[in-house]
Symmetry: C2
């Protein structure tokens, strides 16, 4: 197999050409690239001589791409884009052990942090940097390796692995339910203030599927962050329709209790996402595998024997 790539056009000319084609003007391209108009003109000319055909048709004092030019623009863009991406990735190798994980503040605080102890034991050489945000940053450009997001798993171009579904169920602090023990709450939760997740608005669904009418299902405190929602519930301010995944350690240590044995599977789930190439780095791969393993462990122990509420079935 001959791996000689043949004659190739000069790389810098690609940049000039790309800018010129995009801006439709040699002068503006020169400005953007901090070069002179003459340089762009020369670059384009060198490409045109290289290909033996014009890439721009000079109409009046402006320029317009030819068919061939339009084709090559695509090539130039992808080539530069690919090279730039690969180049950016190289920085990661300068910080051995460090892996940047982006996720929501809620997931970071309620699921990741409680597993730090375990992580330190399992993969001591890995130093995760948690980048907590509710914006699903474009991991192409941001310097982050792994994202953990709630969603539908449709992130094109990214490697995506489903960690677990998101089951929700009413939760509250144990002290709030005097008399009635866990799992013995009245179906309409009468007397309990409701705490709301601003984004999800799930209480209506919950009552509808329970066959219960509650007029003030919208009243109560609102939170934009599911973590704060749980904290508020722990503080005893009411019942939250909380995620079993996020509330896991609160249920373990008893700071929250479930009001019903049933739960509701939401449409979204938690996913780990990653630019495939990043998994080439050993540390990324190690943390990635560890996360997936932990998720598996969690799912098995926390989702076993779940009773779906209403028509929602399945448990995977």
């Amino acid at each position: 197999m001959d791996k000689n790539f043949g004659r190739l056009p000069p790389l810098n000319a690609l940049r000039g050409f790309e800018a010129a084609a995009r801006l439709g003007s040699f002068s503006r391209a020169a400005e953007e690239q901090n070069m002179t108009q003459s340089a762009i003109s020369h670059q384009v000319k060198s490409l045109e001589e290289f290909f033996g055909q014009p890439l721009f048709s000079r109409v009046g004092r402006s320029v317009e791409l030819t068919d061939a030019g339009g084709d090559f623009l695509e090539t130039a863009r992808r080539t530069l884009e690919h090279l730039a991406r690969g180049t950016r990735r190289m920085d990661a190798y300068l910080k051995p052990g460090q892996v940047v994980v982006a996720t929501s503040p809620a997931f970071a605080g309620k699921w990741l942090i409680p597993r730090y102890e375990q992580m330190r034991r399992d993969i001591p050489l890995i130093e995760p940097w948690i980048y907590a945000t509710n914006e699903q940053a474009d991991s192409e450009y941001a310097e982050l390796e792994i994202g953990i997001w709630r969603g539908h798993g449709d992130w094109p171009g990214l490697k995506t692995v489903k960690l677990f579904d998101d089951w929700i169920t009413p939760l509250c602090a144990p002290g709030l339910l005097q008399g009635a023990g866990p799992n013995g709450a009245p179906a309409d939760l009468s007397g309990l203030p409701l705490l709301h997740d601003e984004v999800r608005e799930d209480w209506h669904d919950w009552f509808r599927l329970s066959g219960v009418e509650r007029q003030d299902a919208s009243a109560g405190y609102n939170f934009s962050d599911s973590g704060l929602l749980l904290d508020c519930a722990v503080a005893g301010h009411g019942a939250a329709l909380g995620s079993l995944a996020l509330a896991d350690h609160h249920l373990e240590d008893g700071s929250l209790i479930r009001l019903f044995p049933t739960a509701l599977k939401t449409e979204e789930a938690y996913y780990a996402v990653c630019v495939e190439e990043y998994l080439r780095r050993a540390e990324v791969r190690i943390l990635w595998d560890w996360l997936i393993g932990q998720a598996e462990t969690f799912r098995v122990h926390a989702y076993a024997g779940l009773s779906p509420l209403g028509e929602h079935g399945g448990s995977g």
Copy 2:
């Protein structure tokens, strides 16, 4: 949107680096690239300074890729490959109107050529160049735009459109069946010599599905090319299990007749394939669309009311 691609490493260094990484030796890379060993060393060094980290670990007097180097090798390869591919494609714009179509001699002679008249009328500005071969040339490297191949449609990375299925049925020259008219042949074709397609060996299937035993089902002339097979049948030397697609014009002009109203759908079908990017060229797109349209027309008129033999069903 900032379309500045940031600092990029020099392109020529990528070639040197790629060769060095592939061959595991600066000296051999230099030889391959027609440069001095010193040049390769400089190129690699410039990349290493660019990235601020080594790409090779110098062990003894040989070199070995680091993790970062392995990652960047991937980037370099893909970048060069992509650029080389796009560069190669540019030549096509220098031959306006010409489109190279690669297909088997049989398909070219029996299906394409009979439609030349029509083609000249429909798309007079297109000059197809037929490259007839039984090797499915890698259209990435060969200078060809469109391929028409018999197969399963699994050509990864290529745009693939199914033209039509491949139905076969016994055919022979009309003079050969004295007395018995068309479609009235004895089920075992007794007395008729059999002509074989070397690759397909379909007669056994045919007789099995017909519920007929014929001992000498393997005897007779063999052809490596389905076109020659049909020519031999036209010449009256026996019955061929011929493709309805290839035999179409022979059936139209009466030089071949069908011996049964039934036909057998083979596992493979005829596909048009193309590197997606090539369709950017207007002339390629025009010929591509024309081919697909002609295939559709053919399929409708020739495959209407086909009676499948045996358990084979469907007609799509």
